[in-house]
Symmetry: C2
Subunit: 330 residues, 2 copies
């Protein structure tokens, strides 16, 4: 536990130091956000630099690498790392192209999706072949192992691609994705600790996953100092994909992917609300189900202040995480 706390503190400290170094540099590179034309009126946010995800991603990677138990099994840890880094890299390329083109369009949706699917297939096969993961998913609360056999791979690809893009959709208000995912990471860390205590033979490997989650949590807390309302920097796709990849990676290696719609309900609802909006628009030939999708923009259009929506999302996430933990503690 002491090592875990130091991981959080180290990642936090690095993020705090990195912020004032990277933010002016991002501004100089003219990485100011070109506001998406269909978004609510956020004129005040124009000029806020993107790509701030680096502020937590880099510290999280360094802290995780520095504090992981090198003499224990690191294979699950590496899967999480590759998931976060891989998806983060796709986001980085997208952000970078936006900057070069000075527009809000980086990669096309297809250009984003293709490498995501390739990476997801690779990760799913890796998990499928890993003796500690295999082809099963744990069904929450009933604690049944659901063996999907070979179908594990397409299902997991869907979960991976779905999660990272849901994280990306949730990243629309100051501090929203950062804070919500922070509670998710803390929850996954506690679950890893509980699983490690219950399975002494797999403890080292699970503790390394917990260290990874702690590093993410610490980095994000530091990032929130700069991203909380009014944000001085946005995380960009590099940040949201990195968070999505890290979270789904932790869920995958613990077989707990089916927890994601609960602990990450905020992300889940972002995607679901987008899908409902799209389907309803199609079916009704032009009517809108939500005033705007994803859901958090609907609340904005309903007149809720931004900070209030973020607080509500935090509070709901914390309660769902607590209820989820009921399944893992005595």
């Amino acid at each position: 536990m002491q090592r875990l706390i130091w991981t959080v503190v180290a990642a936090f400290a690095m993020a705090i130091v990195l912020g004032p170094i990277i933010i002016p540099w991002l501004k100089k590179l003219k990485l100011g956000k070109v506001m998406y034309e269909l978004g609510p009126d956020h004129a005040a946010k124009a000029g806020t630099p993107q790509m701030g995800g680096i502020i937590f991603a880099l510290p999280a990677l360094i802290a995780a690498a520095a504090f992981c138990y090198k003499d224990a099994d690191l294979s699950l840890f590496f899967i999480c790392l590759v998931s976060a880094l891989g998806f983060g890299l796709i986001g980085f390329i997208d952000d970078f192209l936006k900057v070069k083109k000075h527009s809000s369009e980086g990669l096309t949706p297809k250009q984003k999706l293709a490498p995501q699917i390739v990476l997801s297939i690779g990760l799913s096969i890796w998990a499928y072949l890993h003796p500690a993961i295999g082809s099963s998913l744990t069904v929450p609360f009933v604690n049944v192992e659901w063996n999907l056999g070979f179908f594990y791979i397409p299902v997991m690809v869907f979960i991976l691609v779905g999660t990272v893009n849901s994280a990306n959709l949730l990243d629309g208000l100051d501090g929203l994705l950062g804070g919500c995912s922070l509670f998710d990471f803390i929850t996954m860390v506690i679950i890893c600790l509980a699983l490690a205590a219950a399975n002494p033979d797999r403890a080292g490997s699970l503790l390394n996953v917990a260290i990874f989650g702690g590093a993410m949590a610490g980095g994000i807390i530091g990032f929130l100092q700069y991203n909380s309302h009014p944000a001085r920097v946005f995380m960009g796709d590099v940040g949201s994909f990195f968070i999505g990849g890290a979270l789904v990676g932790m869920a995958m290696v613990t077989r707990l992917s089916l927890l994601l719609p609960i602990i990450a309900l905020a992300m889940f609802m972002s995607s679901v609300s987008d899908l409902i909006q799209f389907a309803y628009f199609r079916a009704t030939h032009g009517k809108r189900f939500f005033k705007m999708a994803p859901l958090h923009h609907h609340f904005e259009k309903c007149g809720m202040p931004e900070t209030k929506i973020v607080a509500m999302y935090y509070i709901v996430t914390v309660m769902l995480c607590l209820l989820t933990l009921l399944g893992f503690v005595a």
Copy 2:
């Protein structure tokens, strides 16, 4: 642990339900805050009802009473309860008088301090005579028991009165005291769990203190839904004194009062900045050390947005709490 989680969830749920019942009622009673004349320009906040502390105090009391282990030693739990309720009652009277007089002045400082000192003397003697508390304070990190003998009582009176008034001073920005104290309660709960695990003979008694802290945390999370920026309700003196009393009570019964300047640095600095301001003003015949005291108003006067100050206070508190926990985990 499951029982603890249910305590948090129950207190939270009650607070969420109570909010929309109590807030309109407080407004009807014309309990809208009369802004303190010397405060920064918060005209937008005029009319926001006070006394919202009831929204978390009542649920916390009910949840704590419902979930505490009735077959275990409840004496430490009762000390916390009396501390929270006693100081909360003083705050309630103050708030109530403000409402009746339709002014920002309730009890005079002396009228507040006298019952606080009487209550503190009572609580200190209770602790002094309690076999599990006695006349010692644990010195943080070195883990030395510092036996104060009979001086325990005046020292503890100073700590009690100091903490509740510091909490009161910190209650100046939306969500500030609620959020900071939330992290303190969570920290005290974790410490109680750690102490209970290390001292099986005192486990039941300490778990009851943890339940009390969990009830406070849950109630405050619910309250933050209404108190987060832009606040629909303020906690008032009833809320800040209740929080101060509950926190210092938990610290007293675990002999950990000397942790308060660390985990509750935000409160501590509110008092210290007030004292510095006052002493400097006197010594220099009219110069100000801070642009305004307590410290959070100084940051406001420096141009930091309210939400940013609150986020910074949260982040610093979380890190201090984490570092404090290093002394209690393996």
